[in-house]
């Protein structure tokens, strides 16, 4: 039986440290071997207790999407994480990604971040959090424009 304090520690580590790590690490991490990935994770958990070190074993393989989903499921086992999905038309550049993760973790504590590339958005990016949508995509702008035209036509 794991104590509540340990559960909280693990949850905090998952939604803060590991969440930041898997979303800001270089893409090379996801193409490297399991041992290399484990070494990087061990470095991250160097000063962490053994329970947290054990958790990182789950992230030594798999692509970003799988790792991200695994992190969310694991966080759900230890607390009540929110899911913050960021969709962009192309992969976020490293600097933007770091800025975004930093801002998201500060603004929405306890939220697991998932970055997704969706070419059907044409351009821009959008965020989903707990049913809220912040849309800055071309596709969204087009939808808004169409809706606006439809409303004007309807009113006239």
């Amino acid at each position: 039986m794991i104590s509540q304090q340990v559960r909280d520690e693990i949850f905090t580590f998952l939604v803060e440290d590991l969440n930041t790590f898997i979303n800001t690490v270089d893409d090379v991490f996801y193409t490297s071997s399991s041992s290399q990935r484990q070494a990087a994770l061990d470095q991250l958990t160097e000063k962490q207790p053994i329970s947290i070190k054990l958790c990182t074993k789950l992230f030594a393989n798999g692509r970003y999407a799988e790792v991200s989903m695994r992190l969310y499921r694991l966080a759900k086992a230890f607390g009540k994480p929110k899911l913050l999905i960021a969709q962009s038309a192309s992969a976020l550049p490293a600097d933007i990604r770091k800025d975004f993760v930093k801002a998201a973790i500060t603004q929405y504590p306890g939220a697991i971040i998932q970055l997704r590339v969706s070419p059907e958005l044409f351009g821009g990016m959008r965020l989903f959090l707990d049913g809220t949508l912040l849309d800055e995509t071309w596709n969204g702008t087009l939808r808004q424009l169409m809706h606006s035209i439809q409303q004007r036509l309807y009113v006239s």
Binding site: S88, S90, P93, A104, L134, I149
Partner: protein
């Protein structure tokens, strides 16, 4: 007497004539004049009765005629009243029918107007939808072409991030 004889008048003859005349008068009176007078009285009485009956009949006839005339006048009045009532009824019926026809005409007109409006709205809606889908197709095509330029897409992501960052939500 002698004087009479001198004049040629015989007393016995006169007596005879007187008796003869008296007898004749008696016989005539008994068998002719009296029955004739009686018969004439009877006839007269009969005629008078007939005349009275005729008069009575005339009076009755006049009364009957007056009654008939009164009845006819009453009947005429009744018929006239019935005719007036029938005419009024017919006029009311005609007015009701006119009103009903007018109401039906208005209903039909309203329904036709509503149908035309609905059809117009439907047509407009179809045209709007068609227009919107055309606009969407064109814009999508333009966006699709823009998507092939990686630099443009990356720039759009950066712009979007800058906007999100400046919003109060992030």
């Amino acid at each position: 007497m002698e004087a009479l004889q001198k004049l040629g008048i015989d007393g016995a003859s006169i007596l005879f004539y007187l008796v003869n005349y008296g007898l004749l008068f008696f016989i005539l009176n008994k068998y002719v004049i009296r029955p004739l007078t009686k018969k004439m009285d009877e006839r007269s009485s009969h005629i008078r009765n007939n005349l009275q009956e005729a008069e009575q009949l005339r009076i009755d006839f006049q009364a009957e005629m007056a009654r008939k005339a009164s009845e006819a006048a009453e009947r005429d009045q009744q018929i006239t009243a019935e005719l007036v009532a029938m005419r009024e009824n017919a006029e009311q019926q005609a007015q009701r029918m006119m009103k009903e026809a007018e109401r039906q005409r208005e209903q039909l007109l309203a329904k036709t107007n509503a149908d035309i409006t609905a059809m117009k709205d439907r047509l407009l809606s179809d045209i709007e939808q068609d227009l919107l889908s055309r606009i969407e197709r064109i814009v999508t095509q333009v966006l699709d072409e823009a998507r092939s330029d990686e630099k443009t897409v990356k720039a759009s992501v950066k712009t979007a991030w800058d906007r999100l960052k400046s919003s109060s939500r992030l």
